[in-house]
Structure formats: structure tokens, C-alpha cells
Assembly symmetry: D2
Homo-oligomer: 342 residues x 4
């Protein structure tokens, strides 16, 4: 079979590295180029000791015309322009930045504080396959969801969509992420000495940008505006997200049942049997999401959602979307090497 010629923009951050690893083992992919501005002229192995000797080129030198598809692991505001250029050239795009996640320029401005760099490309399909594959199969452009948004939506959407949320009450999402979620650029607060032995909340309440895409996704399904409280924390570990979601439900039995029916048949989402609890150890270095359900009193449900922020929260979900775009089985390149499904 002819391989899909693929380029990666931004290959030396943590997400780009995971993506190159996945794509280098993907049976239908040929990697044509990997870009890096800071390391152009070097090889990927210079950025990552386990990587292959892929040459790194700057984005302006990347042979876009020689590819069928590109993954964008670029900073927001930089990504949309590249996406637009790729679309012009008839190249499919999976954008892992935030640039295509919000459907309107107004919403983008609200959450990111800058005008959208390429508003004509909006809206793009939002690639969270387990919550809706319409618009993803065969798509030309897909916005890959944020890592926290993926965890939150997998835990909330089944309840919201089925009218199981009691209105008028806050929904608390207390989320914790490994440090790779903050990226690989050298910043003081990301030094080993600052994170080791520490746990630090940041952007808690109603201020983190992923709230925008979570609410955009859930409001049409019936979520009340302003009810979400979202508190991310930086964990002293390298990877993984665990989100604890606290929600008052109208009917506990239905609430428990809906998760099992929603995700029955999903290869990459597992719902544990109560009382087992989801942990990072369930998911780290895998493309899976694992959920657990714990009633608290009569009417509150605690949904724990665990994902690897770099995989289901970024790179492996991008590969799911890539597979859907190309009408390949959705888990191609993702499950071959895993232990038997749980």
C-alpha cells in the first residue's frame, strides 16, 4: 500500500517527539519532514536521545508540496497560518495547537486575547472521536483538542448530553497534570528544583483557556453557562493527567450506566468497574483514557478521568484523527504494541 506522506511542524517539543515516535512506527505513514526553528540543521536525535536521525528543517524550508498531510505542533497564533497554507496546497491538517479549537474569531479573542490569525479557516471539526466522529471521517482539517479538555469532556459529555446534570449547581473539575504539559521551553518555574517535591495550582477557577473549548462543546448539549469550575495543578511527575469531576446528577443509576453504554466498543476508552479508581498508572505511555465512577452520597458522582497528556491528550489523539481523515482503522499505529485490551 502506498504510504501517506506526512510532515510534522514543530517536532522537538514534548508533543512533537511523541508524534514522531508514533508516526515512525505507523504502517501507513512515511515521514517526509520534521521542522524545528531552534534546531534546524540538526537531527531529531539531537533533541531526544531515543529518536531516529531525522533531519530537522526550518518551517520555511519544509517541502509542503511533497506531503499528503501535516501535523502542527506549533505555538498558538503561529499554527493557523501554516494550517491555511497547507489547506491551499490541498494538504490535510491536524492542528495540535489551540488555533483551530474555538469556532469563532470572537471566542478566540476572548480566551487568547489576540485576534485570530486566520479567521477564514474557522470553524474546523473538533477531533475528539469518542464523542462524535461526524465531520472527522475524510476531513481536510481537524482541530486536536486540548489535553485538559479531552479529559474533562470524556467525563462530562455523557452526563450533559443525557440531561443527567442537576441545574444550578457548580461542576468542579480538579485536574492535575505532569510537567510535560507545560512544554519544553526553558522557564524558571519548570526547573527540576521548582517542581520536585511541589504541587502547584495555576489559573484556577474560571480562567484557564481550556475552559473555552470545554464550554463551547458542552453548551449546545445543555450545559448551563458559567457552571464549570476548573482548577489545573502542576504535578511532580513528567506526564499524565488525572481529572476529578464532581457533579450533581439527577439519577445515579442512569448516570453510572450512561458511561458504560457511551464507551462500550471504544478501543481507547475504558470505564472501570466501581470501586476501582482511575490513576495515572492506568494510562501513562498509552493512548487510552480510563474513567472511574464513584457515587458520593445520594446525588453526587465523582468521575475520575486519566489520560496521558502527551498521547490521548495530544499525539495519539492526533493519530486517531489522522486515521479517520484517511479512512484508516482509527487505532492504526496505536494499539499494535500494547498488551491485550483491558
Amino acid at each position: 500500500m502506498k504510504k501517506i506522506k506526512t510532515g510534522i511542524f514543530g517536532g522537538t517539543g514534548y508533543t512533537g517527539l511523541e508524534l514522531s515516535r508514533l508516526l515512525s512506527a505507523h504502517p501507513n505513514v512515511e515521514i517526509v519532514f520534521i521542522t524545528s526553528e531552534s534546531r534546524a540543521g540538526q537531527t531529531l536525535r539531537d533533541a531526544w536521545p531515543q529518536a531516529g536521525h531525522y533531519d530537522l528543517v526550518s518551517a520555511t524550508e519544509a517541502p509542503l508540496d511533497e506531503t499528503d498531510a501535516v501535523f502542527l505542533c506549533l505555538p498558538h497564533t503561529q499554527s493557523a497560518g501554516v494550517a491555511a497554507r497547507a489547506v491551499e496546497h490541498g494538504v490535510k491538517v491536524i492542528d495540535l495547537s489551540a488555533d483551530l479549537r474555538l469556532q469563532t474569531p470572537e471566542s478566540y479573542f476572548e480566551w487568547y486575547g489576540v485576534p485570530h490569525p486566520a479567521p477564514f479557516i474557522l470553524p474546523s471539526p473538533y477531533g475528539l472521536p469518542e464523542l462524535g466522529r461526524d465531520g472527522l471521517a475524510g476531513a481536510d482539517v481537524i482541530a486536536n483538542p486540548g489535553c485538559y479538555a479531552t479529559a474533562a469532556l470524556l467525563g462530562l459529555a455523557p452526563l450533559v448530553r443525557n440531561g443527567l446534570v442537576v441545574p444550578g449547581h457548580a461542576i468542579v473539575i480538579d485536574a492535575k497534570s505532569g510537567a510535560s504539559g507545560a512544554g519544553r521551553a526553558p522557564k524558571s518555574h519548570l526547573l527540576f528544583g521548582e517542581i520536585h517535591g511541589n504541587l502547584s495550582p495555576y489559573n484556577i477557577g474560571r480562567s484557564h483557556r481550556h475552559l473555552g473549548e470545554i464550554e463551547q462543546f458542552l453548551l449546545p448539549d445543555g450545559l448551563q453557562p458559567g457552571r464549570l469550575i476548573f482548577s489545573p495543578h502542576l504535578l511532580p511527575t513528567d506526564r499524565g493527567i488525572l481529572a476529578a469531576i464532581y457533579i450533581r446528577v439527577t439519577n445515579m443509576q442512569s448516570a453510572l450506566a450512561i458511561f458504560h453504554s457511551q464507551y462500550a466498543g471504544e478501543a481507547l476508552v475504558d470505564v472501570l468497574e466501581t470501586p476501582e479508581l482511575a490513576t495515572l498508572a492506568h494510562v501513562v505511555r498509552t493512548p487510552r483514557a480510563v474513567l472511574s465512577l464513584t457515587p458520593a452520597g445520594e446525588d453526587h458522582l465523582i468521575v475520575m478521568v486519566a489520560i496521558d497528556n502527551l498521547l490521548k491528550g495530544a499525539a495519539s489523539q492526533a493519530v486517531q484523527n489522522f486515521n479517520l481523515m484517511h479512512h484508516l482503522p482509527e487505532t492504526t499505529g496505536l494499539l499494535e504494541t500494547m498488551a491485550e485490551p483491558v
Copy 2:
């Protein structure tokens, strides 16, 4: 000045070690004995490479009569009996186990699943000084609060006592603790290989035992029964607790102000100026609690409370209680070596 002759029961667990460290530097204390069943005949230094050469004796050989006060770092069910014996001998007791925290045998049975081993000793004063010193000054017996309970109560009591909590809504306490909180007994799930890189919730919802003492404390002040949801997690670090408390308040300005007034003048509790957020780095290896306050939307408040689980959550709070018992300045032995108060 004559030193207070003091014994430590259970000196080789993490809490006992911290206590011996604090007491060995306390200007008014002479350590008379330290007990250990597993290490009787050895010295404390065999259990802890930085400790002094204190001889360890078994509890039955400890010269209770030669002491003025004892600290009990024993497992629950074992502690109450020793406490009762000490009281008989006129020796003051600070009990760091759970045995004296609940005020009735019925409540103890409800939360611990066994009959109380010495019901006649109940109720004992609950030693959380910043929330009430009545009954602590000069007391003969004090129950030292649980680590999670200390964090939760410091964050909740000011709101509950002042009627600032909207009834009918859940109060979520999402708490994370370093591994020392689980003790030093060898258990599989506490191995380095299980905790490194992991984050695991346990006993979430309405099942963790510290809920009992939290509710006991707050119900008389007006907390609605059954409204607390408490989710502890085990962090990949050695020490520290960070509790995120989510609560709907009747008046945001009053809610913010009440914390500052409640803890004004407290040497060991700091309330940060918004928007600074409490982290483990604020408190680890100190006897302080640090709180931060973050409004989420119009009517929800997020109170972050950080303590060192082994200090404000155990050993240093025990020293506060000891000082109160003996009419010493409350921070004796605790602040001499710290940097200037924040």
C-alpha cells in the same frame, strides 16, 4: 528553668521521627524515652540516619512515671489504652492517633469499625489551636487532629462559623498528600516503583475516616450533614498536603475578609493576597499553614490550604498543643529557626 520530662510512644514512624527532631531542639523539653516495638534495643539513629543516639525501648519498658508528658504516635486502637494509663499516672497526653479525636464511642465505631478501646477517656479536647484554644490551655489530654482534617478545617471553619455557606450545595474538598502520610510500614502500594510517576485517589467521596472528625467539628457550627465530599490522593512526593476546597458562598466580600480576620495575628497561619496561590513549596518542612482564596464566578470560592502533613498535620501541631498544655508560648520550639515570618 526545669525541663518538662517527655516520652514518645512510637518514635520510628515518620511522625515520631519529626516529633523527636522537634522535641530534641525544644528549649523546655527533656526527652526521657522513645519507644519502638520493632526496634527496641536499637537507637533512633538506626531508624533515621540524621537522628541522635536515643535508645529505643519497648512500650512496656517505658518509664512512664518518670515523665510529665507523653506524645503517642501509635496505631489507632493501641493508642487509647496507653493514653488512659498515662492519665492514671498523672502524665499529660498528646495523642497523635485517631483514638481520641471522635467524641463518642458510637462515632468511633461508625468510622473505625471497632469498639473504642477506652471509652471512659472520651471526649478529649481537639487540638486545632487556631480554631479554638479553649480547653487546650492547661489540658491533661489533647487529641491531635488528623492531617487532612487540619487542612480542611482551617479552610472551612471560618466560612461555616460565620454563616457564609450557601445551604443545599456540595462542598468539595479535593486533597493531595505526600506519601509519608501513609506511614512507614512496608506495603506494596507504597513502594517507590508504585508511587513514582503516579497519582492515585483513594477512599474518595464519603468514606475517608477524617470526614468523621471534620463533620464532628463543623456540624455544631452549622454545617449541613452530608454536604462534604472529600477526595484524598496520593502524590509522587514525600510530604505536604494541598487541599482545594470548593464552596458556594453567600457573600464573596465577606468570605474573603473573614479569612484575613480569622487568622490575623496567628503566627502559624498565613493567608496569601489574591491572586497568589498556595503550593506545597510554601509549607513543606515548616510548621505553617498557608491559605489562598480565589473567587470562581460570582458565588464560588476556592480555598487552597497547604500544610506539611508531618508538621502542621501532626508533629508541630502536637508541639503547639504541648506548649498550650504547659502554658508556654504556643510557638516555642517551632519558629526559632525559621526565616522571618511572611
Copy 3:
């Protein structure tokens, strides 16, 4: 192609878990059984949240006759008896314990302090393929090397065999291992609270048992007896071994060259170009060994050897040996999912 029916004895320790993961993805393997004494009746997933639902049976109930080959991840002294029984049944054996590594019962007694449990099975081929495949291809029994021994031998053998070691001088092997090397049995010194933030040497000098197999391997090649000094340390991380080997060489250019020629063409051993230095990050979670070479002054060479203690130091090397036994390509089941070779 017909799959090789394979059993794993001792499947719930860290090595057994890695082995089950590798074998479940091995294209020529069907896992017939996995044993566990402590978890018989449970599934592998109960021991490891990412594992499949393999049923665990006790060793006495394992259907040895239904297998073509077995891997033994049992404690030493227990393993040899099972190996002997398997051989009787015509089942191939890869023994990951220490029982078959030393070639004589006398040597076993010297290093392990107990009589060999099945001396008639000795000697067995020593399965370190890159240092000699004779006796491994088609073998019925292979002793899988110790983790430290693998690292030390890969760094030393090329020099010793080629007469490049100056006699009369000590050879220092300063080795550091992640905590998984110490196993998964609950022991106090392996608790998270004891290893986090610590680095501890143990059995240093001439006492660690892996010295026995290292010297046994190198003495026939010309190593002087008693010259090795070997100091293992326990690192505050979960996996990986880094060994720094200090050796006086007769000819620096030849010493540097011999490593490149020795390992040219080896898929699983990489020799870095000086001055790049081997680190754990080169090898963790891979089946590779990575070496670096650094001259120190005119006549001393520092050889750094990095391996994953659970893979090249145990499970993946066992799969290499299994493949050789069955005349399969040596890296079957090991490289399919890795990034392009470095």
C-alpha cells in the same frame, strides 16, 4: 505460522510484567499461562493496571506440558527446580533468576551461600548475545544474565578480550540502578519515602553477587582475579542502570576502536561518538544498551554503559535469547515499535 506456546513463571514482579508485555506483542508467541503464588486466581491486570486480563495460576497448577518454552522470573533457589522439571518435559527454558548463571555448584555456593538446588542442570549457556551467540542458537536452556552484569560485561569484555587492560590496576565499576531492580516485594528500605530524595550505595567493593558472574565470564578471557571493584547504588528513579567503568588501557586508540568494531552491526547496542555521554534517557523503556567512551588523561578510559534494567537487563534480553533458541530473528518482538535505529 504456528505460535510458540509459552509460559511465564512469576509474572507479577516488575520483570515478569515487562516480559508479559513484550510477549503479548510478540508475533510468534502465544502465552499459555502466567503464574503467581500471591495472586493465583486473580488476573494480571490486578497486579498491573495496564496489563491484559490474563488469568494467574499457581506454579503447581501451570500446564507445563502444553508449552514449548517457559520464562522463569522466580527467586533464586526456587528457579532451578522448575527449570529442571521443564527440561525433563522437553520444554525450553530461559531462566531470569541467578540459579543458572554460575557454571558450578561450588561457585553458586560461594556467592549465594546455599547449595545449588539442581546442580545436574549446570552449566547452562549464558545468554548475553552480543558477547557470544555460540551455544545460544537452538539451546534448550539459557541463563539470562544479571542486570548489572549485562552492563558491566558490555563495557568490559571488548577490552579484556583484546588484551587492552593494563594488569595490576583496579577496574572500578560504579553503577547506579533504578529502584525496580530491587524487586516488588514490600520492604521498608524500598518505600517511596526512603528512596525519594536519596541515593544509597549497597554491597559495594567485592561483595555484590553479580561480581561472580562478571568474573566467571571475563577470567577465561584474561581478566586478572580480584581486580574488579563494583559499587552499586540505588537511584531515586524507577528504572535504568548507568555504569561508569574506569579502566587503565594499554592503547587508547585501540581501546576506542574496539568498541566500535565489536558492536558494529548490533541492532541493540549503540556506541556513541565521543564526546556524547550515555545517560538513562538514552535507554529507559528500550531494549538497547548505549555506550560512551571518554579518555581521562593519557591512559585511562571511562566507559559509560546505560541499559534499562528491566529490559536489556532482564526481559528484552530474555526475548533475544528466546528468539535465538527458536531460530527467529534476534530482535523479533523488540524493535517493531521503536523509532528508527540511531
Copy 4:
């Protein structure tokens, strides 16, 4: 008693923070100023959540004339100039940079690759008190030793000075340091994600700059030039140095005995009884050095030396030197809060 007015140049790096913590609790010290170029105008607490509210000023605004003594925690090349200026003003100097450690400008150029910025200030007394207090008592300027140099010298000097080293053999120093040793400036290789789970050697062999001061100190005592091999490694923890020193000795009994006699009566250096081994846990967050001695075969000795790189390797040793300069008891401000000496 009148307090000694003291300034700290460079107060917001890891060493400066430890120093401010120690000095704020020192009974004879009044902190007059703390400088920071990057944080001038802020308070120390902005750099470190447990610190006091000391105002930070830029170095040019620091009131040097109002002090009796200054500690310099500045980058090398910047420090010597400030030291020279302080000396002119009659202010005592403890320099924690490398600028004053080498006794000649030539040696400085050899190891640091730049001309010495203030050669007229050389040579300065080298402040490693346990190896020689001559020249330190009452001194006006002291060069505070490097962290690795402190560990290496404490382990080597007793042997070299007493002629117990067999000539013609390499002396291997395999040292491991926590990440704080690399400083607090944001660099990619110091990110949490790069160090967590890793162990990486750097500047091994004969290239690390601390070799210069180690040899300068030992050559006059009889060390053969060029015999030291020194290999530092970066550990996945925040603080602590463990150095394993491998040395062929002329007489094992004398070698063992010399350490006990050398350090008898030293409050801050402990020599463990064989076979106990020094670990980071012995020393982290203490001003002590702990040594252990292990014979390897008949003629090699392994000396393990553990220190906290930020304390005995920097800040607390600086306080020892400060105390000596001012004819105060050497451990003033260092031992008051520790458990009984081991």
C-alpha cells in the same frame, strides 16, 4: 551583643536562599541587604515562598559601607570585582563563587578560560575548616570551596597528607549531585522533564573545573599530578552530593584509622562505623559531611562522602568561615536546631 551587619550579593539563587535562611536565624547577624539583579524592587519572598519579606536591591545600590561582612553568591568573573571593592571598604568577604579559589591568575585562566578579573586579590585563604583553620581565623577574605571539591577533599586529604596513597595508580572520584548544584537559571537541560527519570554524567574525566581546586589543595601534600579522575553526574533529586572515591592505599589499617583521628572532635564531620554506608539521607538539609570507609580487596579503599551541596557544599560552610573570621564558635547558627550529634 552587637550584631554583625551583613550583606548578601546574589540572594535569589539556590545558594543565596539557603544563606539568607541560615543568616536570618544566626544569633550574631543582622542582614542589611540582599541583592538581586533580576528581582531588584521585589522581596525575597517573591523568589522563594518560605522566605521573609527582605527587600531586594541591585548590587549597585547595595549600601556596602553599612556592612561589616558580605557573602558573594555571584557568578564567577562577576564576584572578584565586588570582593575587591568590599576589601577596599574594610568589609570582610566570603566569596562563594569560584573567583578566589585558585591561587594564581594563571591557574584561573587555565580552568576558567578567561583572565582573572581582579588578580591583585589573589591568593585568598581556602575555607575548608576541617582541613585547616590556619589563615581562616580573623581573615578578611575567604574563598568558599566548590561543592564537589569539598566532598572530594574531605575524602582524600587525610590519605594524601599521611602518605597512604600508592603512587602510580588512578584515584577515581565518581560523584553525583542533586539538580540544585546546576543553579536556578532557566536552561533546557535543567527542566523537570529532562531530569526526572534520568541520570546524566557531564564533564567527566579530567575536565570539570573543580579538579583545579582539588589538585591545587592536594599537590603540595604529595598527590601525584594527573592521577585524579573525576566524574560528576546529575541526579534526579534536588539536593545532596555523594562522592565515591576509589583509592589504592599503602596500609589499610592506617588508612581506616586516619579518618577517625582526622575528624575526631569535628562537630560537622562524621565518620560512620564500617560497614554502614554514607547516603544522601544522612546529610540532606544538614550542615554535616558524613563519610564511610569500605575496603575492597586487600589494598583498595572506597571512601563515600555525603554532603548537602547547598550547605556543607556552599552556604553552611560559608557560615563556618564567617564565624571563624569573626572569632565566633565555628558552628554558631548551624547546630542549634539539629538533633543530637550522631
